[in-house]
């Protein structure tokens, strides 16, 4: 079933209103349900309120986390998918890969809590792999170049410069 507000996303929130004995139902996606509840002051009930219990801010971010943010920070949104920090806290999941950058600061303590770590080790995808490794090499070469210049080792610096240029071209092409 499609969301009756945006007609784009799957309706996962089902709200029943009873006003003067009249029943009305609304079938919405999580985003639109949130929008409506903000404007109507009505809390939607559905899967997400269940998940909220599992992933409430206190669990994810430690005691006091839910009350700790106000004002400007509350409307912080992912520029790519539109998910807000509040949405994340309410749902427990993120909207897109860009959210990881957007909410990096809030995520770090959560990752530490869940995994006891904040940095990836292990498999790297083939395409990500190439660029990631090239960038790492590039960074190292630039450091070496600076060191060489400081030491006035100009021949070495020239060689390094050529290698950096080659890498930059490779990165630009990929």
């Amino acid at each position: 079933m499609l969301c009756e507000d945006c007609h784009e996303r799957e309706a996962t929130v089902h709200i029943t209103h009873v006003v003067n004995g009249e029943r009305s139902e609304a079938h919405l996606c999580e985003r639109c349900a949130q929008k409506r509840s903000e404007s109507e002051g009505v809390a939607p009930f559905g899967l997400q309120s269940f998940l909220k219990g599992l992933f409430d801010p206190e669990t994810l971010f430690g005691p006091g986390a839910s009350g700790g943010l106000a004002g400007v920070e509350r409307v912080e949104r992912c520029q790519r998918c539109g998910l807000s920090l509040d949405d994340f806290r309410r749902l427990g999941h993120l909207g897109c890969s860009h959210c990881y950058q957007q909410f990096h600061r809030q995520l770090l303590p959560a990752l530490q809590r869940i995994h006891g770590a904040t940095r990836h080790r292990g498999k790297v995808p083939s395409r990500g792999n190439e660029t990631v490794l090239l960038r790492r090499d590039l960074k190292q070469l630039r450091e070496q170049l600076n060191a060489a210049i400081q030491r006035e080792a100009y021949e070495e610096a020239a060689v390094l410069r050529d290698r950096i240029r080659a890498l930059e071209e490779q990165l630009g092409a990929s």
Binding site: H93, H115, A117, G122, K123
Partner: protein, 359 residues
């Protein structure tokens, strides 16, 4: 190939045959969560975006199935969109542990790929764009990871995954980020359960970054003494480390279950034999059985087989019947919809017949 054709065997391929430690380990599962670069996760994606994911993944799976010189052939993988499957077929997939119950509720814009031996399944647009799953019989964490890794390599050759240098494979839930790996062993622990050791086990493995929960049943109940031991940590450790760690802890649990069985035999032989033979009597003669009761009785029978008290029945009877006695499988067997009480009758009949054939 139609999905019903793949599912035609009464028992899924991953459940049968000889496998390491299958007196205690029912099966091993490895799951990898992956998302595509630049497309929002399924939870917030639009219908169009879900369609894009389905198209890209379907294409990648088709190529992966054929192999292209660089990557090995993955074999007979078939892709289906969820709206092309009947509610019964979806439920059969759930009962065979090939898709999640939530995924069975989806339709257009969602999909599933399945290899004809049912050892590899890929959910498309579940909580993540891809959930690659490998299911093997018995205790095979290393083999399951290697197989999942191969499937992932073959898809990776055609897809660009969402990945960050810092936190690895990006997933909808921060609980899966990093490797995106969840490895599980499904354990039959009747002796530890009888000895009241499950609570202690749960808190012990929690300290090691692992979880134990019942496979069937609600809340803290674990019907049939069937448990799933899985890693909770997916970030900061490599896939090999996670798999090895899980295997090490699982081996200890298996060891403890064996010791508990030994102790039961030594100290409470009569009570144990009495309980097992009573269950055997009921399960082979009852006219109506609920899932919960059937699993309890079958767990006892399985323990009886392991302890050499009951013979002439295949060891895999528990994993076979734990799937065949569930509603959709019963409904398919009978060929019509069944009420709950009709199911209890059919369940008892199926089990009676199954034991009759064996003896």
């Amino acid at each position: 190939m139609a999905l019903d054709e793949i599912l035609k065997h009464p028992v899924a391929q991953w459940m049968v045959g000889d496998a390491p430690a299958n007196d205690i380990v029912v099966g091993t599962r490895v799951r990898l969560a992956r998302n595509l670069h630049e497309i929002p996760f399924p939870g917030v994606a639009t219908r169009t975006q879900l369609g894009q994911v389905v198209d890209q993944v379907r294409e990648a799976i088709t190529h992966a199935a054929q192999g292209d010189g660089r990557t090995p052939r993955l074999g007979r993988l078939h892709f289906f969109t969820m709206d092309a499957l009947s509610p019964l077929t979806k439920q059969l997939l759930v009962e065979r542990h090939l898709i999640s119950p939530q995924h069975a509720q989806t339709g257009a814009g969602h999909g599933v790929a399945l290899r004809d031996d049912e050892r590899v399944s890929i959910m498309v647009n579940e909580e993540d764009h891809l959930r690659i799953q490998v299911l093997l019989p018995g205790f095979q964490p290393q083999e399951a990871w290697e197989m999942a890794n191969q499937v992932d390599d073959a898809l990776d050759a055609r897809l660009v995954y969402a990945f960050s240098d810092a936190v690895g494979y990006l997933t909808a839930w921060p609980t899966n980020v990093g490797t995106g790996l969840r490895a599980s062993v499904m354990l039959h622990l009747p002796a530890l359960a009888r000895a009241g050791q499950i609570r202690a086990l749960i808190s012990a493995v929690a300290q090691l970054g692992l979880t134990v929960r019942g496979i069937y049943g609600e809340g803290t109940e674990a019907w049939g003494n069937l448990f799933q031991l899985s890693n909770q940590v997916s970030l900061g450790r490599s896939e090999e480390e996670i798999t090895t760690h899980l295997a090490t802890v699982a081996r200890q649990v298996i060891q403890q279950e064996r010791q508990a069985r030994e102790a039961l035999l030594n100290r409470q032989r009569i009570e144990l034999e009495d309980a097992i033979y009573r269950s055997f009597g009921i399960v082979t003669h009852a006219r109506s059985l609920s899932t919960k009761e059937a699993l309890r009785l079958l767990s006892d029978v399985r323990l009886g087989i392991d302890l050499g008290l009951i013979s002439g029945i295949p060891e895999t009877i528990l994993q076979e019947l734990m799937v065949r006695i569930r509603p959709a499988h019963l409904q398919r067997l009978v060929g019509r919809e069944l009420s709950a009480s009709e199911r209890d009758l059919q369940r008892a009949t199926l089990i009676r017949e199954r034991f009759k054939v064996q003896r």
